[in-house]
């Protein structure tokens, strides 16, 4: 077993035993070795179920607003951004959290892995070996460089502020690679429009992306389904879908950390992270704001400053 | 292929009269335009219909008229959401779309020869009024009728224009209470369950029907039981979000039952058996 995992379990058991928290949220094994699953450890024995590896792609911050009691949460450093956003928006109390940062070497994007291997179900014994993912498919050995199957953002991982965490396990050791561009460099508004109109032909507007998103917590009040102001129509079609996704993209702008939860929840595998990273870049450029940096600063699209108006006019 | 009528498609109807009941309740008299459909719209007290304002949506509304008066349908509607807001703007001669009737309704045939106790709160009187008027139109088939009714305030009492008729009917007791009085109110002040206890109806050869806000129903059911009513003698109606009206869309599913199809009328015996989210 990885040393990291031992430490992780020890920490969880310790917190539970001392009664510092009532539960530890982490990752555990699922039916597929290529997919971790969220684990909610309530007793120190359950801590032995915790694992950490490159298949722990789920952003656990999504669960935090559900709990009123003090809980501990394992988080990849980038996902601390989700917690910071939730703190900044008053959805969580810092006193109720014990945040454990786990050094991460990038997490596998199950969608990429599926595209590369055909079917996650047939991947036997999927595991991480150094900077490779190894598995067997129909008796055939598969070996894929981590850089080819991790989430886009993992290739552009930056150092993080250790002070934010109550506990840090492991040493920063992130991947560095140049992502293969998924869109042409000169992609302009027209290109994007064409791209999304094509992608959104598949959208069934089931709203799974929204429900899975840690930043989308409006639930019954979501404006996309408001009965009074019909922002989006009932008809199926790329125009209506675009309206919904654009609406959502603006609402999570400056709050989305590109964890990919929306994309993974999409039954039609629409590459939604592309949309959100595009908007995220714009927010960063326009407002010099990086998601999750400060828990005391609300996201820029939720505030209004006069100089922003003047800057736009100039 | 056998011709199947699409159960989800409503038909045209015309509003023939509107009665303002309370600040947020109006009673609409409605006549189905198509003669054949009107004939086939055979309903029993306690059933409901889906009323539509096309472009806005449908709303589930219980029928408050009685099948013994077949010239029109009546619906007493509380303004509570988008559709009911739109319905409230309708005046005589306006069109409305309608489909139904749906639900099981009250087994009024089985109650011949029995005394009836009605306990209602607010707009909950609407479905019970259908039974009351049905019984008044078949007066000799039923025994004594007691109606215990309450609302938040005197202004919130519905069907005030009908109380005199009821009071003059044979063997009919009408007791009214309000939660809070307003100026000029000479009647009783207090909650419905308190009035029920005071009236103390006898469970012997009787059926008790209750309909109203969930919290009132909860207490009334308890009180009726403690007065000696058996679970089979106590009837209530369940409310929930409904849409299709025919047990398919899934909203009103509670335990193995669909309120729209298997209800909305249940005996307390049946209710006690259902495990579900109320």
């Amino acid at each position: 077993m990885e040393k990291l995992e031992v430490k992780l379990r020890e920490k969880a058991a310790e917190l539970l035993e001392k009664g510092e928290v009532s539960m530890v949220i982490g990752w555990g094994e699922s039916w597929s070795p290529a997919k971790a699953t969220p684990v909610f450890a309530r007793g120190k024995d359950a801590a032995s179920k915790l694992v950490f590896n490159s298949f722990c792609f789920n952003n656990l911050a999504v669960y935090l607003p559900r709990f009123a009691e003090r809980v501990a949460i394992f988080t990849k450093p980038c996902e601390a951004g989700s917690i910071v956003s939730l703190l900044a928006e008053g959805k969580l109390s810092r006193d109720n959290l014990h945040i454990i940062g786990v050094a991460c070497r990038g997490v596998v994007d199950p969608i990429k892995l599926k595209t590369r291997t055909g079917n996650l179900e047939e991947l036997a014994g999927a595991r991480v070996e150094g900077d490779f993912i190894a598995a067997k498919k129909n008796e055939e050995e598969i070996r894929l460089p981590l850089t080819e199957v991790v989430l886009e953002k993992c290739l552009n991982c930056s150092d993080y502020d250790e002070n934010f965490f109550d506990t840090v396990i492991g040493k920063a050791n992130h991947l560095q690679a140049t992502p293969t561009p998924r869109v042409p460099e000169d992609a302009d508004a027209a290109w994007w429009r064409k791209f999304w109109m094509k992608e959104f032909e598949r959208c069934t507007r089931c709203y799974a992306c929204r429900e899975a998103c840690p930043a989308c917590y409006c639930r019954d009040s979501c404006s996309a389904q408001s009965h009074r102001e019909k922002w989006t129509g009932t008809k199926q079609g790329p125009e209506e879908a675009l309206m919904f996704h654009a609406l959502r993209a603006m609402h999570v702008a400056g709050r989305c950390i590109e964890c990919g939860a929306c994309e993974r929840a999409c039954p039609m595998s629409i590459p939604l992270t592309l949309l959100h990273s595009q908007v995220g870049k714009a927010v960063e450029k326009l407002f010099s704001f990086r998601v999750g940096e400060r828990a005391d600063a609300p996201p820029p699209l939720q505030t209004f400053k006069r100089e922003e108006l003047e800057r736009d006019a100039s | 292929m056998a011709a199947i009528t699409d159960m989800l498609v409503p038909v045209n109807a015309t509003v023939t009269d509107v009665i303002g009941e309370t600040p947020d309740v109006k009673t609409f008299k409605i006549k189905i335009d198509d003669g054949n459909y009107r004939e086939s719209f055979a309903y029993r007290p306690g059933q409901f219909a889906e009323l539509s304002i096309l472009g806005i949506g449908e709303s589930t509304i219980s029928i408050t008229s009685t099948p013994t008066r077949p010239d029109y349908l009546e619906f007493s509607i509380k303004r509570i959401g988008l559709v009911t807001e739109a319905i409230h703007t309708l005046v005589s001669c306006n069109k409305i779309a309608l489909r139904g009737p749906y639900g099981n309704g009250f087994p009024v045939e089985d109650w011949k020869g029995k005394d009836l106790v009605f306990v209602a709160g607010g707009i909950g009187l609407a479905p019970l009024r259908s039974v009351i008027n049905y019984m008044l139109d078949n007066r000799d088939d039923y025994g004594r009728i007691q109606l215990i009714y309450g609302a938040r305030s005197p202004q919130d009492l519905v069907f005030r224009w009908e109380y005199d008729t009821w009071r003059q009917a044979k063997d009919f007791d009408l007791e009214i209470t309000v939660d809070g009085a307003s100026e000029g109110w000479m009647g009783r002040v207090g909650f419905v369950p308190a009035l029920l206890k005071e009236a103390a109806p006898s469970p012997e050869n009787a059926i008790a029907l209750t309909c109203g806000p969930p919290v009132m129903i909860k207490f009334v059911l308890q009180d009726l039981v403690s007065m000696g009513f058996k679970s089979d003698q106590i009837i209530t109606t369940l409310e929930s979000k409904m849409q299709c009206g025919v047990g398919q869309c899934g909203r009103c599913n509670i335990g193995p039952k669909y309120i729209c199809k298997d209800g909305p009328v249940f005996t307390l015996t049946e209710l006690n058996k259902i495990k579900g989210d109320f």
Partner: protein
Amino acid sequence: MQAKILKTENLQAWLDKLASYGEVYAPVKGKDTSSFERVNAGVMPDFSIRTDVPPKGLIFRQAEKILAYTVGEDGLEIKRAGEEISNRIIFGIRPCDSRAFDILDAALLNPYASEYSYSVMRERTVLITLACNEPGQTCFCTTVDGSPAGKVGNVWIIDLGDRYYVEALSPSGEQVVMLGEGLFMDATEDDKLLVQHKERELFKAVSRFPAPTVGDLNRIFDDEDFWKRLADKCLSCGMCTFLCPTCHCYEIKDEGNPKSGDRYRIWDSCMFSNFTLAAGGHNPRVEHWKRLRQRMMHKFSYFIENSGVIGCVGCGRCIRSCPVAFDVREFLRDAALVCTATVGSIDGLLDRDRTA
């Protein structure tokens, strides 16, 4: 009709002839998702895949126009949407997906009320079921009364390597087999014996585990802790309901203005909180664990009580696609275990009457 044999190389020829019956849909591998698509010159079927998206939407469409309305000088006019629906064939549907339509029939074509568009689509569609030679790791059809070799639909075919064994199961099935007249030979007794053997082998290939009965589930309904723990990881995203071949909850919605517009019947999901939100604000299932309980109870208890069949075909899509790897098999095993802990031995579970 006598069972037939079709040589593998003649499959395409039969497919081509089927086009004269109506639109032909078959499993197609797309860039990101596999689904049932209309096959023609440009779109090639791939019978080796179990599709990500079930063929449910080909018959129970996601957005079905119910009616169109206009408000003019003569009042309100309501026209039932009279879109012509052509005959269609779903070719290579797996037994689980095929059986899902029987379950949808029970829900949507019940004697109390029939969903019009579904009934028309269903009547005009021929299901050519392909036995599942390679069940997947997440398949559990045998636990929910199915089989990878289940004889369901209108035609049943099984791949015997160099040839297909073809059996018509209904008059419409015979009709589409007849379209390929000349391509088929009569099956021999040996073929039939081989098929029987394969049926048994395939049934054994999918692991079977004890599942809870209606009685079991009724007993644990009030065990809040059980359901809360179960729902811990559930995001309530509803993806499972959209990919489920038997989920059929819907919403009725208008699109238009006061003068004219349309009314639609659209898929909805019991996993969403606003699904049960009433106009007055009352909502019996605000908590996400209650919604998960509703979905599980509906499939594995209520549906059996109302229709006599389990509301799940064990296709495993909800397991494969769940973004947080929720595994419905774990629920079934846990529920059965929790119950056996109080009501008896686990051995008897498999053979117990499900309605007990």
